[in-house]
Amino acid sequence: MTTETWILDMDAGPIFEQIGRNVREQLARGDLRPGDKLPSARDLAATLSVNPNTIVHAYGELEAQGIIEKRRGLGTFIREDAPVETMRKDMLREIAETFVNEVRRLGVETDEAMAVLKEAWDAG
């Protein structure tokens, strides 16, 4: 796991939430897989120059969400039954909703928006 996968923005809300979102995104992308080991809270804190308690908080939330588990004496791991597909779909839906909201604010009709989306997709 590289440092570049953990990008924090101090203006973008609580750090513990950003760490959580980061892990879910890495799972959705396939950069992290069920069974993978996460860095220890202390290591990640040192890498990111972040208060260790913040990482502990983030890991606690991910544990409560059923995404990671502590294996005694071994460290913190992505759960084998982590709901990766659900996370992927949730994230995709979130992106879609953002798109729809922006398009609505522009006052553009559905057909036109879809056509432009298709166009942008093909161009990308």
Binding site: M10, I15, S49
Partner: protein, 226 residues
């Protein structure tokens, strides 16, 4: 509480160092003491360290007086008082003779982590001396660390090494008060931020709560101290 100040004022001959400060520091917090130069950051840390006596108000440290608990408090001051002929080994012997809580083994590890060169301080850069001074401070096993501007005037690489060591060495029952005006780099470390202006308390806030409102420590720094 590890340290408490109630209505503390420190007046110098012509100016006020700090004015009517009431602050409580429990065990296990990394606190950023933030403010511009002359805002009272150093005065606050020195009062808790027992190096200054308040003009008015009460300060308690470990339930006693700051002066009576100086041996249990680590204070890293802004001024570089290292002798030019000292090597890191000399500095270690010096600290070992001075403080019963100094751990020479830990000191050696810290010198490695902070990559302090083993030569006389007069042949070191400012950043290297800053790292040596931090190693000397962190090699003591205390519950209260008062670090006055450990990042000031030091190169970026040294600053990163210092912050990494702080994160690694900090035990969750210890309290660190770190004053800085290099807010952007250090802000991730802080659980709590205390903002001072002209010796007075402007804001005392839990940092993640601040971020919940979409604000960073830096942004708040600009807002409340402008």
């Amino acid at each position: 509480m590890l340290a408490s100040l109630v209505n503390v004022t420190k007046r110098y001959r012509t100016t006020e160092g700090v004015r009517d400060l009431t602050l409580h520091f429990p065990a296990g917090q990394i606190v950023g003491v933030l403010g511009l130069n002359g805002s009272g950051k150093s005065t606050l840390l020195k009062l808790i360290a027992g190096l200054l006596f308040p003009t008015a108000g009460e300060i308690s440290v470990f339930g006693g007086t700051p002066r009576g608990n100086r041996a249990r408090t680590v204070f890293l001051g802004e001024t570089d008082t290292l002798w030019p002929w000292m090597t890191p080994a000399d500095a270690g012997r010096f600290m070992d003779g001075l403080y019963s809580d100094f751990d020479p083994v830990r000191f050696g590890e810290l010198l490695d982590v902070l990559e302090v060169p083993r030569r006389k301080t007069k042949a070191m850069s400012k950043g290297e001396r800053g790292r040596l001074r931090l190693a000397m401070a962190l090699a003591r096993s205390a519950k209260l660390y008062l670090l006055d501007e450990p990042l000031a005037g030091i190169d970026l690489i040294s600053r990163e090494k210092i912050m990494m060591s702080l994160v690694r060495e900090w035990h969750t029952d210890e309290t660190i008060l770190l004053s800085t005006h290099e807010v952007a780099e250090a802000e991730g470390l802080f659980e709590r931020a205390v903002y001072l202006r002209d010796g007075g308390l402007v804001l005392d806030v839990a940092v993640e709560e601040l971020r919940r409102d979409g604000k960073s420590v830096v942004q708040t720094f600009k807002e409340v101290l402008a």
